[in-house]
Subunit: 188 residues, 2 copies
DNA sequence: ATCAACAGTTTTGACGTCAAACAACCGTGA
DNA sequence: TCACGGTTGTTTGACGTCAAAACTGTTGAT
């Protein structure tokens, strides 16, 4: 059932394993290896475009999270930390640098003085809106080689995979019931 | 055409954008955002298992490339650099550390004294074979939530995407014809 | 009211990666 | 043979991330 498809890097890796260690089942690499490879290649493409706006990918991530969070464009440091799979120390460092660049401002939460609130500044907001438009454009180009239907099927399959990996949507503000005991800190 | 699927993180991101900036077309995020998210989650799962063998993911990558390269388990530093999308300086650093751990040994290529040849040691070989088996097992578990057919379709779609991203298989040893002018160094 | 356990952030030191400059070596052509 | 451009690796300094410990504020039980 060969697909008559030109080999990609991962296909070559699997062929090499099959020759050297035929007993090793490399099936999972067909998915996992390709996801990691694609992530790396896609980040390169997007990084270049963001650089045109003077932004690093990690800066865009934070700004975008704030911009889409609602009219106030404010989130706590902890919420930001949880949403982008980094450690708290990393987020502290990011926020410090972005405050220095005047992209965000910070203050303490009135209802819980342990919590730091991060807010988009006017210039941060302007910047992220331009960057978001540009970023969507490059990403569109990057995946333009696939038909709309294939993109849709790929998105759906990745969605299913992510759900099995435990990647649920974060709880909406003011969820019904008590605080969900979700652990979002990176383990280890 | 809603799919009655529980939202994942990226679905929530897209819904938030739709509310805050309805004119922004976030279609590409459905694919690109999910790939990056999945890569991050999968790396976590695999990292833990590799740690049981005393290996970091980057160490496994190098050892595995050597092990599957053929009976001699030898590759030049440049070949390794090209195959895993890192810069030459990174590879120098990796090799140094792995020589210190006695996982690999190095020597200069007899036919081109600029080139450094990296070879798997006996203990490196033993270690990577055990780690590879363990790694395949975790990856299998990680994607076990998808049926075989879905995994197959996902792999095929990712394969197609990677080809459009320029991720071709590296040339076989002693390719027919002249040296292909492929650029594999990270740009910028 | 107090205290202990917990939650949210920050600090610290180590680590891996990158970009850019550099060094050694190869091959070609004059 | 020698000079020069291209190739292969290494060095250097800066940067972003992490793990773990420390710090501050909160909550609940007594």
């Amino acid at each position: 059932m060969s697909n008559h498809m030109r080999p990609d890097f991962v296909a070559a890796v699997r062929a090499a394993w099959a020759e050297q260690l035929p007993d090793l089942d490399t099936d999972p690499v067909a998915v996992v290896g390709r996801i990691s490879r694609a992530a790396r290649l896609l980040e390169r493409a997007t990084k270049a475009r963001l650089a045109e706006h003077g932004l690093e990918p990690w800066e865009y991530d934070v700004l975008a999270a704030l911009r889409r969070s609602g009219p106030k464009a404010t989130l706590s440091a902890g919420t930001l930390t949880a949403s982008m799979l980094v450690t708290p120390g990393t987020m502290t460092n990011r926020i410090d640098r972005m405050v220095n660049r005047r992209l965000v401002s910070t203050g303490i939460a009135p209802d819980d003085r342990r919590s730091t609130l991060v807010t988009l500044t006017r210039s941060g907001r302007t910047l992220v809106e331009a960057a978001a438009a540009g970023l969507m454009a490059v990403e569109q180009e990057a995946i333009a080689g696939l038909s709309t239907q294939r993109r849709q099927r790929l998105a759906n399959l990745l969605h299913e995979l992510l759900l099995t990996l435990g990647d649920d949507a974060p709880p909406e503000k003011a969820t019904t019931g008590a605080t969900p005991p979700t652990r979002r800190r990176p383990p280890r």
